[in-house]
Amino acid sequence: MAGPGEPRVDLADLIDRLVAESGGAVTALRRFPARPAETVPIPDTIDPNLADALRARGVEALYTHQARTLDLLGKGGHCVVVTPTASGKTLCYNLPVLQALLSESATRALYLFPTKALAQDQLAELEELARALPALRIHTYDGDTPQDARRAVRARANVVLTNPDMLHSGVLPHHTKWLGLFQNLRYVVIDELHTYRGVFGSHLANVLRRLQRICRHYGASPQFICTSATIANPQELAERLIGAPVGLVTENGAPAGEKVVVFYNPPVVNAELGIRRPYLKEASRLATPFLRARVPTIVFTGSRLAEEVVLTDLKAAVERAPAFTNVIRGYRGGYLPNRRREVERGLRAGDVLGVVSTNALELGIDIGRLDVALLAGYPGTVASTWQQAGRAGRRSGLSAAVLVASSAPLDQFIVTHPDYFFGSPPEHGLINPDNPYVLASHLKCAAFELPFAEDEPFGAEDVGRYLRLLEEEGVLHRTGGRYHWTSETYPADHLSLRSVASDNFVVIDSTHQTLEPVESVRRLTRKREVIAEVDWRSAFAMVHPKAIYLIEGQQFEVQELRFREDEEKVAYVKRVQVDYFTDAVTAKGVWALDRFQAGPTGSGTAGRIEQGELLVAEQVVGFKKIKFDTMENVGAGEVDLPQQEMQTSGLWLTLRPEVLAGISPDRDALVDGLRGLTYLLHHLAPLFLMCDVRDLGSWLGDAPPPDPDREAPRGPRVLTTERTRARLLAAERFEPTAYLYDSQPGGVGLTERLFELIGPLLTRARETIRTCSCRSGCPSCVGPVNEVGRRAKPMAATLLDHLIG
């Protein structure tokens, strides 16, 4: 790390050089001036021991946002604090919580973090602060908590750090074991509020309704303290999550040094084909001079594979010098917790100079302060981009964020339209806690937790009819004015808050494996070396047979993937040394299984909308071998893996072939227009559903058979995007169909509702195209022009005219 004596001007020079040598690749450079600290003295009301503990950690005064939070809480309300990374936001909640604990030792607080890793991180921070204070019992409670420790945590912990999933399935259904917590619950902290949006957020809102219900039972009414990254509607999101008015704290009193944000578009190397230099190579090339100058740097990548590729490159470029041995580390979700903790500690201590990470480090894990954030690829949203850029920045002195665009259309659009990015407010976080499916599932859990009184409120909705419905189903039984749970099942087990399946694959290094022992003596079992975990959804793409699996630059070749239902999910890998990595080729397909509703899309007969059950299948069909140094494609292979199928609900739009033919004889142009239209509807629909873009999926494919109920499934065959297009263009009957579907397996009713709203949705889509100021397509209308083509925008507008009629 740069010592205190070294002038920061180094970084300014490095940035100047980057710009000067870029040969026009830098498309934007914005400077954000330094901002002084705004502080107030530590109030007298703060417990003297706590004030001393703060001073011992160098906190002589409070930032204004911290003081304002204290004020709001003092008045008895809930609050949400919006501050950028590393602005002392954790003190916003730790301060009132510790203060309450010191004044009344029976007090309890519950902290919710979106991930276990964040809870671990905050545990360390809180323990540090509480060390000088009278004995406080602070514990995490999650899937990693040993069984024998759980009882003690339940009975005694003053502060419990957990996650929504554990609260939902492990705490609330066993609330009698948490008597002490619920009777004395004073504060509930919800960190990283912006992550709770869409269907996940709708679930959390219901979990919080259940939490508040249990609290009422025990006579507690806790105050909520939320923190959020910068999004467009933090207060609204918090109020919808908590179901009560929430005070908003937005002023940021933390000081910040000057910051430079640079957009970098890798130069074109083949003008004819429009091929640019590989952005991952460019990212590591650009990061190298910073690291050589010992400037602490973080590189964010969009995927795990990209993370490993950049890491391998960067280690090769920087760690050759003896003084730089092992100063660059990787960081991502699949790493085992120990390895992650080691990297976090190394960063804080300064032993680690550079880290290459997926968005896992975007959340508030404490890794100390870094000077440069290099974003390899656009993170996808304005809010995420600022979050990642915010990882670089000190209280004083210069810091820099560099966005290196990939050749993906969205990246190219952003990097070539910097004003679009710098002028855009961050995104909205939307939720719909009264989604009938979500609500009904949580009502079951709530009735399991405590019998439900007939007139009991649960959010704003009148839930009486849901309760009657559940009684008809037999899971509830009404007696004495209350609904009791009457099923053998444990409803929380059948309801996952997140759409990702929890069935992870473990990656086992079998390089030194020998035969299994025939018989064991005093438990002489072979220790298997688990080196990583991969979640179910990405497993086939990451650890298919013959894949090169990378972990901190070390290469492993997958020997065998065990994925059958009755087997433990394992990828066996062996250490290898090759000069390439693999990139999976995925194919996809969408089929209608059942049709529930159908109708015209507008006043005419040109378009038809149908709603029903869909089968969405994806399959990893092969892989490409890509050479490390040159990013050349040096080979390919096929793999034989099953399709990953999901049954869900969806809707689809079709224009009659005659209508399409009347619009244009050019099928290519029509497909472009339909792709643009699909993109637009996919991105607009969440607004009508109060969900997130990722809660929906979309696909442009064949029209479903006239009668899916009767027709036997035609051996669903998945195709890559290009093959699908080719197939559409060559089809005898040209009837491309735009599908929108629920990303959650089984569906949570999003498209059923959208079916009702199709009129307003199409009208709004047409207006969006009309009023969008872009020339021929941008992420705010039909998608980036370089993805959907120049013809997409006008064509989509024409198609909409016909659909609306």
Binding site: P436, E449, Y466, G480, E488, V518, T525, L684, L687
Partner: protein, 408 residues
């Protein structure tokens, strides 16, 4: 997240939504997902064979029954009068606050062949306070509680019910013995598994005949709640009563067994008694092992018991006896266990200084370990080290005209 460009400035049209329609769809979906309950007929008005017990929270339901048990079950020395056997029937196995205890069966020995069974029944989920109160009253006089797997199942569930009703939990004040771990130690070798229903057949000769399977109990109860149909309820009472009789019978048999060794019991049970007592009462444990070895055990069990007994003797200072026992066992056994070879080798080396015998055993152990191809290199390496050391010691001891062997 939703780009702001999409979301501003016009509000999303509302009011086009038909809540009722949505609900109807939800209903249809739930019906598709969940198995339908068959159409249920109105209840026949059979009165329950239960008496009403007044409590401050309303009346609770109870039935009392005296059971004359077969001789095989009878307790020679009935458990002390304050000992109450407890078994519950519940609406599920998952635990949590949504699992109800709807039947609490309590039993006591009232004569050597007589058990009195008292069952409290939750006839209405809204009447839990009275039910729990009555159960508390019933155990007020108890001095000890015996259950089968109650430590992890019945008692935590009851505790949850009491806490949920804000009635104090009484379980903490009452000594509790869970027979399940005892049964596992005693009878693991005697029955296919250690479930109550398996053990009662194997050890007490109980045949319940047409008993209601435990897995069906919740459904029968739910059906009663929904329809008021009381007809199948007696089958639940009978099922619970059998559980209590089996529990009391096994408890009596365990007590008698641990009181031995008594020739009425099987040497395999003595082996089990030895295991249960190994840490709790080593002297008595050794007596059981000795008796089992004397009486003879089925093939394969003997070397293990000898190994355990040898250790008890070693700890009691009878090292010579242990060595003799192990040596005889090794000589007799067709395939002596590895641990016995290793431990006997250690005794030979460190206590008897018989390096030759120790080396032979170590080599035999090494042969077994290597043949198994154990990935645990540590064990093989340790055996190899021992083997080398013994060879050196042997060489030194055999060296002519040497000074007295250095202390090992």
């Amino acid at each position: 997240m939703i780009p702001s460009s999409f979301s501003d400035p016009r509000p999303v049209p509302a009011g086009t939504l038909d809540r009722e329609l949505e609900l109807a769809r939800l209903r249809a979906r739930l019906q598709r997902l969940a198995a339908r309950h068959a159409a249920e007929r109105p209840p026949p008005a059979d009165p329950l064979p239960l008496e009403s017990v007044p409590t401050p929270h309303g009346s609770a339901l109870r039935r009392v029954e005296t059971v004359r048990v077969p001789a095989a079950i009878a307790a020679a020395a009935p458990a002390s009068p304050g000992t109450v056997f407890l078994d519950t029937e519940t609406t599920g196995l998952s635990g949590g606050t949504g699992t109800y205890v709807f039947l609490v069966g309590l039993a006591t020995w009232t004569a050597p062949r007589t058990i009195t069974v008292t069952q409290y029944f939750l006839g209405d989920l809204g009447a839990e306070a009275a039910f729990l109160h009555a159960v508390r009253e019933a155990v007020a006089e108890a001095r000890a509680l015996v259950t089968f797997n109650g430590r992890t199942f019945d008692l935590p569930l009851l505790e949850t019910r009491y806490l949920l009703s804000r009635a104090g939990w009484w379980g903490e004040d009452l000594p509790h013995q869970d027979l399940y771990p005892v049964a596992r130690a005693l009878w693991r070798g005697r029955a296919a598994d250690c479930r109550l229903s398996t053990l009662e057949g194997a050890l007490l000769g109980i045949d319940r005949g047409d008993d209601l399977p435990g897995a069906l109990v919740p459904q029968v109860y739910f059906r009663y709640l929904r329809t008021g149909d009381t007809r199948p309820l007696p089958r639940i009472f009978r099922h619970n009563r059998w559980d209590l009789v089996a529990l009391a019978g096994l408890h009596a048999r365990a007590a008698a067994l641990l009181d031995g060794p008594d020739p009425r019991h099987d040497p395999v049970e003595w082996m089990g008694a030895g295991r249960w007592l190994e840490r709790r009462a080593p002297d008595r444990s050794a007596r059981f092992y000795e008796a089992a070895l004397r009486a003879g055990l089925p093939d394969g069990l003997e070397p293990g018991v000898a190994w355990r007994l040898g250790w008890l003797w070693r700890r009691a200072g009878r090292i010579g006896d242990a060595r003799t026992l192990w040596a005889e066992t090794v000589a007799r056994a067709a395939r002596p266990p590895l641990r016995l070879l290793i431990d006997l080798a250690k005794l030979h080396e460190h206590h008897a200084r018989d390096y030759g015998a120790a080396l032979d055993l170590t080599r035999a152990a090494l042969g077994i370990a290597e043949a198994w191809d154990l990935a645990e290199r540590g064990l093989v390496e340790a055996l190899e080290r021992r083997s080398r050391r013994l060879t050196q010691r042997l060489a030194r001891a055999m060296a002519p005209a040497a000074a007295p062997a250095p202390p090992g």
